[in-house]
Symmetry: C2
Subunit: 377 residues, 2 copies
């Protein structure tokens, strides 16, 4: 089978690697150059979007910020999975909140802000601190404003108003800031026949607003069950097909949905080593109508992002339980350049390995990651 | 780094898949078309052998039957690993036997046959049954003659003589047939600095002379140690760099070398799921001068070859512990089309899974494999 992926970054690349053994060929639509290319050999160009659509048996996306005309063209072919509606939900916090309300999925108290009146409404309904998030194009902590003290109110409105005026399509979601213990996420798939499989939850750590470490959680049945129920309600509601990730804030024993990502997700990269079938393969299986693979944890596993660096100490390659995944990208500060999956036969062994890695990774680039890992082990 | 692989079959393809996450690019020299291509997108052609040699930081081979002028050209570049001598040993049973003698590696009693005189010598020195194997181009049971009864002697000589006369470079190795209990093989790597790592031995089953099932063996320390010693002596002797496989006949507690393959080997395909670092990645690491990855068994794992078939029942995709690897080849009777790796948390669970698989795989194509598996579980 042939699949076209909208987006030609590391996620499309890892999808291509994951399903090559199933004789499934992936081409990727680069939204920058507007060309279709081979994600495993980007210099190999196959034409434009129309050519890509024609080539494909199925079309999917590696990210939610795809231009709506591109989505419309793909949807018209009848091959797009998930639907453009589902992809748009991930790219617009207003639609996301609407879906959460429809599905009665617990989430932070919020108000949609589009003008001064709704801004005041937000201040009335929510108590400080409030976080304002841009409805469109916000990710990795970008497009966010925090209002902690009343004295910041007018300055905040000035900034928000300027932002809203800059783009008529934009909006703001004002959220009550939640004093959560940690962020966890659930990555799972819904198949074309409604079959649902989810991986174990992961605990996520962020560095400067960007995911930096994910730890697969195996023995947290109570929240695993909550998360799975939310996943099931959400994906059934929109007849979703493919991999989808839900980020949650954990408050006590309760999970509040933070964000939905209608795609493979950074917090699921550990599944390449920690599960029989990784999120990339399972996403493509879903959109191709193939049976989903097993999503159980096969070994305690964690993932460490490599941010802004293009080398790590060579000795890591010889460490048992370590798998290094580079994305073939050129170095830029803070850029997601690759990740390291770490597994062990037991949680104890995994912790030992993580602790050794924290000793090896240079603090210059990995200080926050090393500190977090040391705190866990 | 860039690596050129001599040979553009499934082994080059699996090497390319295995090391893409290390940002290592593989190009493959197709000995048929004499063109260099992308093993992950064979329609992408990059020029001829000279272009390929220039592109590469390191050159290696996926098989031992590479034309000697090609090997010479590659060796002259200073980039070929292992050496052409090592590759030729795998392609010529006379050189192989010579190396085994030099290393005092136990193997079947044998005589090199090049004419009637040495044929008679073989009959004198060996007792029936004798197996005659062509020195060059013999693999998967091809190019072999069996002499079981004295009455077949003149007929056998007629055939061998005709064969010898057909190619002045050919020769025959006459071997005492060994009444062995089973065939096992050891796959391991020697790094550029002499570092050696080996995987657990596998037990191999053949169907019509072609490997069809490999089972990783974890608790057979006595023969594992013997095999590792032979591996070490052989690879040190020829300053080998890369993955190498040794097939053994097991006779009681003793291993006799059957064959050496100076490359990644079908009996090591299980390492894709059963080890942290598979034989393909470790081969390329070795030839690139990178540290070798861990070779310990991480889960009990077995491999089943898919011979001559281009489909298997879809339900296998959803079975826990099952990973299907197709090679993207067109169907031909008996052709190696793909393989299935099967893992379990315990040997017991693996056996249960294998048993289920033997129930699912159609007997029309997998009768012998199913019978072997059922006998094991």
């Amino acid at each position: 089978m042939n699949v076209l992926v909208l987006g030609a970054g590391q996620l499309a690349r890892m999808m291509a690697l994951a399903v090559k053994p199933l004789n499934i060929e992936i081409r990727a639509y680069d939204v920058g150059s507007k060309q279709v290319l081979n994600p495993l050999a980007p210099e190999q160009v196959f034409g434009n979007l129309t050519d890509g659509i024609q080539y494909a048996d199925a079309i999917t996306a590696e990210f939610e910020h795809v231009a709506h005309d591109v989505l419309a063209l793909c949807e018209a072919s009848g091959k797009l999975k998930p639907t453009s509606q589902a992809i748009k939900i991930g790219g617009d916090r207003r639609l996301e909140k609407q879906l959460l309300e429809q599905c009665q999925a617990d989430n932070a108290k919020h108000v949609i802000v589009k003008d001064k009146e709704s801004f005041d409404e937000a201040l009335n309904q929510l108590s400080l601190p409030i976080i304002f998030k841009s409805a469109l194009e916000g990710y990795d902590g970008k497009g966010q404003w925090r209002l902690k003290f009343e004295s910041q109110t007018s300055q905040t409105w000035l900034e928000l108003n300027e932002f809203l005026k800059s783009n008529a399509k934009q909006g703001i979601v004002a959220e009550q800031m939640v004093p959560f213990q940690r962020e966890v996420s659930l990555v799972g798939m819904r198949g074309h026949n409604g079959e649902i499989k989810v991986y174990p939850l992961t605990e996520n750590h962020h560095t400067d607003g960007v995911l930096s470490v994910s730890l697969a959680l195996d023995n947290e049945q109570k929240i695993q069950q909550q998360a799975t129920e939310v996943f099931t309600r959400l994906t059934n509601k929109i007849d979703y097909v493919g991999t989808l990730a839900i980020e949650f804030f954990q408050v006590g024993d309760k999970l509040l949905v933070n964000e939905i990502a209608p795609r493979v997700h950074n917090s699921g990269h550990w599944t390449q080593q920690g599960a029989d079938t990784c999120q990339f393969a399972n996403h493509i299986r879903a959109v191709c109508g193939l049976p989903l693979g097993n999503t159980e944890l096969i070994r305690p596993t964690a993932m460490i992002n490599i941010l802004g660096e293009d080398t790590i100490p060579n000795q890591m390659l010889s460490m048992p339980g370590v798998a290094v995944h580079w994305y073939g990208k050129s170095k830029r500060p803070g850029r997601k350049m690759g990740h390291i999956n770490v597994s062990g036969d037991s949680q104890e062994q995994l912790n030992q390995r993580l602790s050794t890695i924290a000793d090896i990774l240079p603090d210059a680039a990995f200080a926050d990651i090393n500190a977090y890992i040391k705190g866990k082990c």
